[in-house]
Amino acid sequence: MSGISRRKVLIGAGAIAATAAAAPILAACQPAKTGGSGKVVVMTDPNEFNDDDRKTLEAATKLKIEVVASNLTTLYAMWAAGNPPDVFRVQAAGVPQYISRKMVKNLQPYFANSKLLKPDDLAPANNFYKWDGKTIGTGDLYGMVKDWSPDFTLYAYTKAFDDAGVKVPSDTTPLTYDELRDVAKKVNKKDAGKRVYWGFVHSNNDGWIDRTAMNMLAEKNQTLYSADFSKLVISGNPEATKVIRYLYDLAADGVNQTPIDPSPNWMGADFNEGQIALLQYGYWFSAMAESDKTKGKTVFLPAPTWAGVRRDPTMTATGWVISSQTKDADAAWAVFEQYMGGKPAQDRAKSGWGVPGLKSLYPQMPQESAFQKQVQKVLQGELGKSDFILQFNPYIGEETFATSWKKNLEPALKGSISFDKFVQNIESEVNTAIADGKRIIGG
């Protein structure tokens, strides 16, 4: 009947008209498709890659660069959306897993042909990006550090020590971790419930707690995981239990920022406010350690030692990788290469924000002010201890252990679970995650 067709046409026409009207507006909102058409999407930390860097790279590569702020959940979401960034920032702890899950490109062929990034010019920290399926440190290169630091060095705020009447530790003789704990307790200070000084903060607010633990264990040539990475072993390994117990005790001592004693700022900001007596961050922090409050009152100290061969590698090895799903690998490499070996790399070296990824750039590190000179003096001693490669677990991501630690630390510190239960929970949660990872990769 004509009535039906008229109605149908009306409704249909209405729908089409509405969508047609909306289409031009929506076209303007198209997604940032990766690669192709001369555009490269880079996911990184805006603090490490500001607008000037972007413009420099765009000029050098003749490509358009779009920057997305680094966030693990967002990264995973972009992957789930089938639209990952071309280049993204990672830390060493995550690299094995990204490789196992086929998320990153093998860059060995590119390095072989590169004029800027020569294999024998690469700093040892780059070995974190090498993997052969079993061991980190050997095999093909999957990425590169943007710069690195021996990460276990300490910064001391001398005023906190003066207030407590404690001598500032020497910058030539490393402390032991036990000595460090004692000193931390002495300089730790609260005044009528308000925090004056935290004694010793470390591991980036527990985000890197497993790496710290692994480095301590590495002094005795041990690790947190079983040989084939299939299990996290703490309670079955007396040394590991000792290390974890030590780190837990630091939290219980109240010298560290914890879930029950948090700070609204990150560790670095609090140090600049003069609220931290001893801070464990790598060389890179020296570029910002001196604020108005801490200027002239900051001392750089060598990494403490646990109980064996002292080691001070990087535990972050922050760098870039190229996604396996990039639509234009050559374009991504061009951006990568320039950032790692071109002008931005030289600027980074001069800024003192880290030890360069290329050995040839080492001399460019700043050494003008008294503080910088003192830092360099200590750094030279540390570089000799920094070749070690921590073996991260390929079945889990960068934050798996830390998330479990933080989640269980709160009830443990409040007393609702015992230390043994705390360890058990972490082991069970991480082992479940490892099993999940294995199930997926079929390892």
Binding site: G3, R6, R7, L10, I11, A18, A22, I25, L26, C29, Q30, P31, A32, N47, E66, V68, A69, A77, A80, A81, G82, N83, P264, N265, W266, G268, A269, N272, M288, S291
Partner: protein, 280 residues
């Protein structure tokens, strides 16, 4: 006919009883909001050390706009909220009209289905939708909201169905006699008289998108995201320390247009809900 007693003067006790609780409740409710205003006018150094600002720092509002690129992202939020509200309301009105006035085999079961979808936990539905959107490549665009709008909202469909069900059928019959088809009846009789329901549902739909943080955080990308997501991490000083005072100014700016609008529009909402007879 009501036989009212002679109007009595309320005793002070009775007045106290009438106004007391309401005043206390109002103060309790307003306290956090009041504190937002106070904090937004402090210097960051006064935060935590002074109860009230020495001098109102209106500059915080300027900072709130600048640090979060407020104008641009507010425009994004505005576009998204309006587009969704417009589509969802019109479609829901049409669908609600269909349910209210037209019978068909399976019709009542379908209406139960509408209500049932309302009860499904959001995350249960969103996760597979997210995967679907990802697979067809519309993440990082506004298309998900357009699609959601085009399929209507169970809440609004329910509202309109109840609302239209109370219209007198004589209007339909008269129009049919004049040869009008259902669409014309809808456009010329039902829709023009649906004011309260349109307003009520439009407001809810708009509010849902304007205030949403989770979906834009997961679906959109930082260039085209909404204000809520943009503001979430924007208010820090160059060292990375949080600026509570500027954050509060940002909150005020984010919320002020809504408050003004709602203070004005809320009587429509009440009327809209009354006329749908939710009791039934």
């Amino acid at each position: 006919m009501s036989v009212a007693a002679a109007p009595r003067r309320a005793s002070p006790a009775q007045t106290g009883l009438r106004y007391g609780p309401v005043l206390v409740a109002a103060i309790a409710f307003a306290l956090p909001i009041f504190w937002v205003l106070v904090t937004s006018l402090k210097k960051q150094s006064e935060y935590g050390s002074a109860l009230f600002p020495a001098v109102p720092q209106w500059v915080n509002y300027e900072l709130a706009v600048v640090l979060a690129d407020f104008g641009r992202f507010a425009a994004n939020s505005l576009f998204l909220s309006s587009a969704y509200a417009l589509l969802a309301v019109l479609v829901s009105a049409l669908v609600g009209y269909g349910f209210a006035r037209h019978k068909a085999p399976g019709g009542s079961k379908l209406f139960l289905l509408v209500i049932a979808t309302w009860m499904v936990p959001n995350l249960v539905l969103f996760v597979p939708q997210f995967v679907l959107f990802a697979r067809i490549g519309i993440t990082n665009t506004y298309w998900p909201w357009i699609l959601w709008g085009l399929s209507g909202s169970p809440f609004a469909i329910f509202l309109f169905r109840q609302f239209f069900a109370s219209f007198p059928r004589e209007l339909d019959d008269a129009a049919e006699v004049d040869g009008a088809g259902p669409l014309r009846i809808f456009l010329q009789i039902y829709l023009p008289n649906a004011g309260p329901a349109l307003a009520a549902s439009a407001i809810f739909m708009f509010l849902w998108v304007w205030g949403d943080w989770l979906y834009p955080a997961l679906l959109l990308h930082q260039e085209n995201t909404t204000l809520a997501v943009r503001m979430a991490n924007a208010y820090v000083d160059p060292r990375g320390n949080p600026l509570q005072t500027v954050t509060m100014a940002g909150v005020v700016l984010y919320v002020l247009p809504l408050i003004a609008f709602f203070a004005f529009a809320q009587r429509f909402i009440v009327r809209g809900i009354v006329t749908t007879g939710i009791k039934g």
